[in-house]
């Protein structure tokens, strides 16, 4: 979308060269992604596989929702909260969305600071991102607790189609797990940045390889992907 818009600004002759470069990147008997390091390429390929995992969950949800003869519970009412006497539809989910988007923004800033070699700023922004991620998981735990108290189970719920609980716990549970893992990755990388590992070339504990500030960008790729998945869950599960 945006990426097409950015690309259409390129002159036609440059575009032809781009296509030639695409075919030679794939056809030549050499490294296929010369623009990206193997670390980055592998993270992208992992994210592609994860796309299929979440894609399958969402398609499974679509299938059970389309094929049930019982009405689907209205998410707008199920996820409503009463704040100060007024009932606001979906308010918790909206706040969670804003928290996650904010964390994506701080992560993008951290990556930019990393490439400018601003060690402390990078580490602090990553910690802020991790904090926002933890807030998100906390709110999700609150949401789960509330729904479980109201009687939602993977096999039944008080409002309608039984499949609602199964789809909800499966999809948000897997997403929450991804956020939690993301927070751990952020903390690990932030610690390395803070200690100056990427400036001094200190070798990693597992890999015995010196890391680079690119690692911040790769952790960022994962984090943005988690936000990306939430965009789809928010639209297809909560708003539909």
């Amino acid at each position: 979308m945006t990426d097409t818009a950015l690309r259409s600004a390129i002159r036609p002759e440059a575009r032809a060269t781009q296509w030639r470069r695409l075919s030679s990147d794939w056809a030549a008997d050499r490294q296929t992604f010369p623009g990206a390091s193997w670390r980055k390429a592998m993270m992208w390929i992992f994210l592609l596989s994860d796309t299929f995992v979440f894609g399958c969950f969402l398609i499974g949800y679509m299938t059970v929702r389309m094929s049930t003869t019982v009405p689907w519970p209205n998410p707008s009412e199920v996820f409503a909260l009463e704040i100060g006497g007024t009932t606001l539809p979906l308010i918790l989910i909206a706040i969670m969305t804003f928290v996650l988007i904010s964390s994506s923004g701080t992560m993008a800033m951290a990556v930019a600071c990393g490439y400018r070699r601003r060690r402390r700023a990078t580490a602090l922004l990553m910690l802020l991102t991790a904090l926002l991620g933890t807030t998100f998981v906390g709110m999700q735990a609150f949401e789960w607790t509330k729904l479980i108290h109201e009687g939602v189970r993977p096999w039944e719920n008080p409002w309608g189609a039984e499949q609602f609980g199964a789809a909800f716990f499966m999809i948000t549970g897997f997403h929450g797990t991804h956020v939690t893992i993301g927070v751990l990755i952020l903390l690990v990388v932030a610690r390395k940045v803070w200690r100056g590992d990427y400036d001094t070339g200190r070798r990693g504990f597992f890999t015995s390889q010196p890391g680079r500030y690119e690692n911040v960008e790769i952790a960022g790729l994962y984090w943005h992907f988690v936000d990306l998945v939430w965009v789809f869950i928010f639209a297809l599960f909560y708003l539909w």
């Binding site: 979308m1 994506s104 990556v111 960008e217 639209a235 708003l239």
Partner: protein
């Protein structure tokens, strides 16, 4: 690799802030779709529109896809199109299940 690193450092903080702002606006818009109880085709259209634009902004700018080579862009963005085929297959299957359920179980 030095080239790619210096390339990435060229992104202005300002661009990130602009994208961040738009993500906020688009999320607020999708929330308002629910808040104002829009229904039917308009609701679905707006939800999917905001979803696709947000996803595009995140992938293109935050994940730097707009600055990668076409070889990587196509390797990552084309395969998920298979999911659309899967959606088509499963919606046909779900429609059939619904049909048999309503005929044989007497529901709906």
């Amino acid at each position: 690799m030095a080239a790619s690193a210096s390339h990435s450092s060229g992104h202005s903080i300002r661009l990130y802030l602009v994208v961040w702002f738009w993500l906020f606006v688009l999320s607020a818009c999708s929330y308002l779709v629910d808040y104002f109880h829009l229904q039917g085709i308009l609701r679905w259209f707006l939800i999917l529109l905001f979803m696709v634009v947000k996803a595009g902004l995140i992938v293109a700018v935050f994940m730097h896809m707009a600055w990668e080579r076409l070889a990587l862009i196509y390797a990552i963005l084309v395969p998920p199109a298979a999911l659309l085929v899967f959606v088509a297959i499963m919606s046909a299957e779900a429609a059939y299940t619904l049909l048999t359920r309503s005929t044989l179980l007497g529901g709906g």
